[in-house]
C-alpha cells in the first residue's frame, strides 16, 4: 500500500484509506476507529473502491461505496470517498 490518506470526521471518527496501483486502484485497505455494521462489510467497502481508475470522479466513487449494504457509524460514504480521492491524488 503506497498511498494513504485519512479523514478525521468532525465530532466523528478517523477513517484511513491506503491504496496501491499505478493508474488504477489495484487494492485498498480501510482502517480507523470508526464503527461499522456488519463488521464484515469492511471487505466489501474495500472491494467497492478497488478497480477504479485514478481519474475516477467523486460521484462514481460514492455510488460504488453506497452500493454496499452496510451501516457506517461515525463517518459516511462521502468521507470514505474523500479519503480515497486524496490517497490517489
Amino acid at each position: 500500500m503506497d498511498r494513504r490518506s485519512s479523514v478525521k470526521v468532525p465530532d466523528g471518527k478517523l477513517v484511513e484509506v491506503a491504496v496501491s496501483g499505478t493508474d488504477r486502484i489495484e487494492s485498498a485497505r480501510i482502517t480507523g476507529d470508526f464503527f461499522l455494521e456488519p463488521p464484515e462489510a469492511r471487505a466489501e467497502l474495500e472491494a467497492a473502491i478497488e478497480g477504479h481508475s485514478f481519474e475516477v470522479d467523486r460521484e462514481t466513487l460514492v455510488a460504488s461505496i453506497e452500493s454496499v449494504d452496510a451501516r457506517l457509524i461515525g463517518f459516511d460514504h462521502d468521507h470514505l470517498a474523500e479519503a480515497t480521492l486524496e490517497a490517489i491524488e
Partner: protein
Amino acid sequence: MNLRVVDSGRYSEPVQQALERVLTDRLVAGEIEPTLRFWYRDGPAVPLGRFQAYADEVATDYVEEHDVEVVRRITGGGAMYVEPGAVITYSLYLPRETVSDDVEASYAELDQFTLDALRDLGLAVRHEPLNDIAHPEGKIGGAAQLRTDDAVLHHTTMSYELDIAEMLRVLRIGEQKVSDKAIKSAEKRVARISDHIDADRSEVVDAMIDAAADRYDVFEGELSEQVLTEARTLADEQFGTDEWNRQL
C-alpha cells in the same frame, strides 16, 4: 428486565475479548440472561478497535518488551491502554429489541446508569457523542458496540487512575517523545475518576450496580464453567493469535 450482574473473575485480555463473542452469541441463543459484566484483568493490555491498524496504534517494540498484550476487539472504536485496578471496564449484553435503534441515542442510554452513579459520587460527567463519557477536564472513558440481528453488546472503559505517562509509551500517540509537554497535553484529554472523587474503585463499581438496580431487576450471577471453557478455547484459537490481532 432482569439483568444478571457478574462482578467477579480475573482473566487475560484474550479471554476477556473472547468472552464478548461467547456471551453475545449465548444471549442470542437464549442460553444466558441479559447481563452486566465487570472486568478484572491480569496484566497491562491494549484493547484495539476492530478496524484499526496494529502498527499505527501501538508502539510495537515497547509492548513486546513490557509484555503488554494487544488484543483486537470485536467492536469498532479506538485503542486504549488498560492496567489491572486502574480502569473500570464493563459490558452489557442485551436483547436488540430493548435497545434504541438510534445508535447515538443508544450510547447515551446504555451508559446512563454509569453517569448517574458517577454524579451521585460527585463527578461532573456527561455523555459526549458519539461514544464518550466526558468530564470538564477531559475524557473519562469511551464505549463501543456490536449489534447482531438479535443482540447488542455495549462495552465501556473508564480511567480510574490510569498511568498516563505509561499510556503514552504504549500507544503510538506518544511514541515520538514522551516529553513533559506530551504528558501535559494527554492529561488534558484524559480525566481520571480518582483525581476528582474520594472513592475506591470497588466503591465506584458498587455505586454503578446500585444505579443499574434503579433501571433493571438486577441479581448477582457468575459465568458458567461452559462459558469460560468456550472463551478460553476461543482465546487460544483466535483472540490470542497474531493472525487475528495483527490482521490489519
